[in-house]
């Protein structure tokens, strides 16, 4: 038990240090990248604030004076890092609202969407994968392969529109767009979840086939354990060791790569915030969003490490076994 605790502490310490390092590197990189982007930031911010009908040279000059954009880049970066150390994210250059509040709002949206989408993908994908693995090359397996190919072939945008047409416009079961109600979460999450379910099915199927042909499963069968218990006690847990890290990777993809689905369903998430922040050169929002995304990746990886540790508690690596 002590060695397990030690390993747990090791994982947490390593990931914690990684988190701090990532925070600094990401903030500085973001800042430098925005400096390298074409166009004058004061104009971009003025366009974001006042819209294309009202942005002009006077508005840009006023924005430049108000935000002190004339100060040297290093000066501004230093200010941001000092504020960050005090956990102060500042205010948005465009909306003048606190960045923490704004990014927190979008983060919640993204996490809700990603969690439900993953649940969708796991239920459908892993379920299909386990069924397919029962009889490799059987009809269910072939059907799963076809499913994998088709959901991967349809772009999320099209899949989303199809779901809206069927479930919202035709069957009138769910709202087509919106944010905040559980009902409005179903279609965007299903769009993402269905897209992922194909690969999940594939990975689960391969993992289950591999585990089922292993010696310990053969032994469990030989000692007369019912097939159901073989599956639940031995196959699922061991296959999960292979599937969970994959789940982590997909969670990251979901958190970062859902802009199209967010915009199709008017769901407010980090992708939306990031696109606007880049377009408007809203540096504090951009830095905070990138920071949150980076830390989320660290957090997801930590969670995956911990889950795998729990699923497979065998000692590994010389440092731990000593």
């Amino acid at each position: 038990m002590t060695s397990r605790r030690l390993r747990l502490a090791g994982v947490l310490a390593r990931r914690g240090a990684q988190g701090v390092g990532v925070a600094v590197v990401v903030s500085v990189l973001c800042f430098l990248l925005v400096l390298r982007l074409p166009g004058d930031a004061a104009y971009r911010i003025a366009a974001g604030r006042y819209g294309y009908d009202l942005v002009d040279q006077e508005a840009a000059a006023a924005v430049r004076a108000e935000l002190g954009l004339d100060r040297s880049a290093w000066h501004r970066l230093g200010d941001w890092l000092i504020d960050l150390a005090q956990l102060d994210f500042g205010t948005s250059l465009v909306t003048s609202r606190p960045v923490a509040e704004e990014v927190g709002y979008y983060l919640l949206g993204t996490l809700q969407l990603a969690a439900v989408a993953l649940a969708f993908a796991v239920v459908i994908g892993a379920g299909a994968g386990v069924l397919a693995a029962r009889r490799p090359s059987g009809p269910v397996d072939r059907l799963t392969t076809a499913w994998v190919a088709s959901v991967r072939a349809v772009p999320p945008f099209l899949l989303g529109l199809l779901l809206v047409v069927v479930f919202s416009a035709q069957l009138e079961l769910l709202p087509a767009v919106g944010h905040g109600t559980p009902a409005s979460l179903v279609l965007p999450a299903a769009t993402l979840g269905l897209g992922l379910s194909g690969l999940f099915a594939r990975v689960t199927r391969d993992a289950v086939v591999e585990v089922r042909s292993s010696e310990y499963v053969q032994f469990a069968r030989t000692k007369g354990l019912a097939e159901r218990w073989v599956l639940l006690r031995h196959v699922v847990r061991n296959a999960a060791v292979l599937v969970v890290p994959y789940l982590g990777v997909q969670a990251v993809v979901l958190i970062e790569g859902v802009v199209v689905v967010e915009s199709l369903f008017s769901w407010q998430g980090l992708g939306h915030a990031l696109v606007h922040a880049v377009f408007w050169r809203d540096v504090p929002v951009l830095q905070a969003t990138a920071l949150v995304l980076a830390l989320l990746i660290v957090a997801v990886n930590t969670a995956v490490d911990l889950v795998v540790l729990w699923l497979d508690p065998r000692p590994r690596g010389s440092g731990v076994s000593a």
């Binding site: 104009y43 649940a119 009902a183």
Partner: protein
């Protein structure tokens, strides 16, 4: 070890989804008495100078002066206004008995406080007015101007000049809440996409038939069209051609539209080595098959802009011969200007190819599509155009540093209700970010000065004609297409009227169909 844990997780996930699904029914039934409005306009700020149009459109806030459906000035929070004989002192008499949504009375002091804040924001048209002082007396707001300005009442129709209650601002002067005087008060706001309002008990006028309004920003036109046809919204603004035909084929919903005082036009640098020659500008104009472009991109050939101002701005649409389309004529003009066929189909003069960069922005989806059509049309006469779809602010930035060559813009000619304010800015001799660049004409200058000084009719009509005619011949701005604003309106709703100036959505005029 507990073998059933994954199963429990799966069951939990399914239950969650099922519960989520159940929410949908509840949503629908509770929306029966709410007017559901959807549009592409995201709201990122509560400040009237930034995203204030949404709050005047939802009739939460009011301006001192407003405009009727014909664009004529009518009383808003000011019942009447007058100017001193030299037009430097203005008096706006406030309506009696108006109350902010927080219950506090609309006093001249409160109005002055709000207007003083607006006047310092450069983006607001009020910042252009030469204001010396804004003061309050017992019943009115008084403006003291450095020089005469007859456009002040029109400027005060702009959404940025909406009057908010003192309680709307925090100590730093930031707007934290929208407390207005309009018939509707904000009940819930979730930036950037959702605003809910209800009739304010403080409203001084007649009780509106629509009691609650829910506005939802929906960025994608495809999603908006689906909302309209599946009865998930009562009024859906701004549909693209595909969505429009979808709505036209659906039951229970109709399309409404009105021509906006907005022209999609090519802004150009009139001192550019190539574009400085009026023959080149005319040739570019003649090469544009505006009808086909409007037909293909806007799906409406009548939107081809043969004049700078749309016919709906009647006073600014004198009887001039439409801008011609003539490919051979364009080639002849270019030859006259010294441009000869070059090696790869691009015209050349002194070994230099006829190449230009055209900037445009994606905020209005038709602009990049039209830019590509223009690129194609001009390639036919040997002009190579590079299209750069970028941020709208690159256009004023290019104007400032002189690097701009061509830009395709959608210019609104009635940001405030009198087009003169915009016309005077667009043709300012020193140039304008959303108007002419390095172009001035003495006759146009004189005409604008006379109009700003309040020239009476019919002399004013002559001045307007001068401005439009000179611009029509010299083409410092090349009109491409006019613009129609549209909305899908559910049959549940009666009395919908599309305001071409989009000052308000006139929700108080709506009622539920019986």
């Amino acid at each position: 070890m507990n073998p059933t844990r994954p199963a429990v997780a799966a069951v939990a996930a399914v239950t969650l989804l099922a519960l989520a699904g159940c929410g949908a029914g509840a949503d629908r039934s509770s929306s029966a008495d709410v007017l559901r409005v959807a549009g592409p306009f995201e709201v990122h700020s509560l400040d009237p100078t930034a995203d204030g149009e949404i709050f005047t459109r939802l009739q939460v806030t009011e301006t001192l002066v407003t405009s009727d459906i014909e664009g004529e000035l009518v009383p808003g929070l000011a019942t009447e206004w007058s100017a001193s004989p030299d037009n430097t002192e203005w008096r706006f008499e406030l309506v009696e008995g108006a109350t902010f949504h927080d219950g506090s009375p609309l006093t001249p002091e409160a109005a002055v406080e709000a207007l003083e804040k607006v006047a310092t924001v450069e983006a607001s048209p009020l910042a252009e007015v030469p204001i010396e002082d804004i003061a309050a007396d017992e019943s009115a707001v008084l403006f003291d101007l450095a020089t005469a300005d007859l456009t002040l009442p029109a400027v005060l129709t702009h959404y940025s000049t909406a009057i908010l209650a003192p309680s709307s601002y925090d100590d730093a002067g930031q707007v934290t809440e929208v407390v207005g005087t309009g018939p509707y008060e904000v009940t819930d706001v979730e930036l950037p996409a959702s605003i809910e309002t209800a009739v304010s008990p403080e409203w001084r006028g007649e009780e509106p038939a629509i009691e609650k309004v829910a506005f939802q920003a929906v960025g994608r036109a495809e999603s908006r069209a689906l909302l309209a046809v599946s009865d998930q919204a009562d009024v859906v603004f701004s549909l693209e051609p595909a969505g429009r035909s979808r709505v036209e084929g659906a039951d229970g919903v109709r399309m409404e539209s009105s021509l906006q005082p907005r022209t999609i036009l090519l802004k150009l640098n009139a001192e550019h080595p190539i574009l400085g020659d009026v023959r080149v500008r005319r040739a570019l104009s003649m090469a544009l098959d505006r009808e086909s472009m409007a037909g293909a991109v806007l799906r409406e050939e009548e939107l081809a802009a043969t004049h700078l101002f749309p016919p709906s701005l009647e006073a600014w649409h004198p009887d001039l011969a439409p801008l011609p389309e003539d490919e051979q004529g364009a080639l002849d003009l270019l030859a006259e200007a010294g441009w000869e066929p070059g090696s790869d189909g691009v015209l050349e003069r002194d070994g230099e190819p006829l190449e230009l960069t055209l900037l445009t922005y994606p905020d209005r989806p038709e602009l990049p599509a039209l830019a590509t059509a223009i690129q194609g049309a001009l390639a036919e006469i040997g002009v190579r155009i590079e299209v750069d779809v970028t941020n709208s602010s690159e256009i004023p930035a290019g104007q400032a540093d002189g690097s701009l060559e061509l830009a395709l813009i959608a210019k609104h000619f009635a940001l405030v209700s009198d087009p003169l304010v915009d016309v005077a800015t667009v043709f300012a001799p020193e140039g304008d970010d959303w108007g002419v660049m390095n172009w001035a004409d003495p006759a146009v200058e004189r005409a604008i000065e006379a109009l700003l000084a309040g020239a009476p009719e019919p002399e004013a009509a002559e001045h307007r004609e001068t401005i439009v005619r000179v611009a029509h011949e010299d083409l410092p701005l090349i009109p491409v297409a006019w613009y129609r604003m549209n909305a899908a309106v559910s049959d549940r709703v009666d009395g919908f009227v599309m305001d071409p100036l989009e000052t308000t959505w006139r929700i108080t005029d709506l009622s539920w169909a019986s």
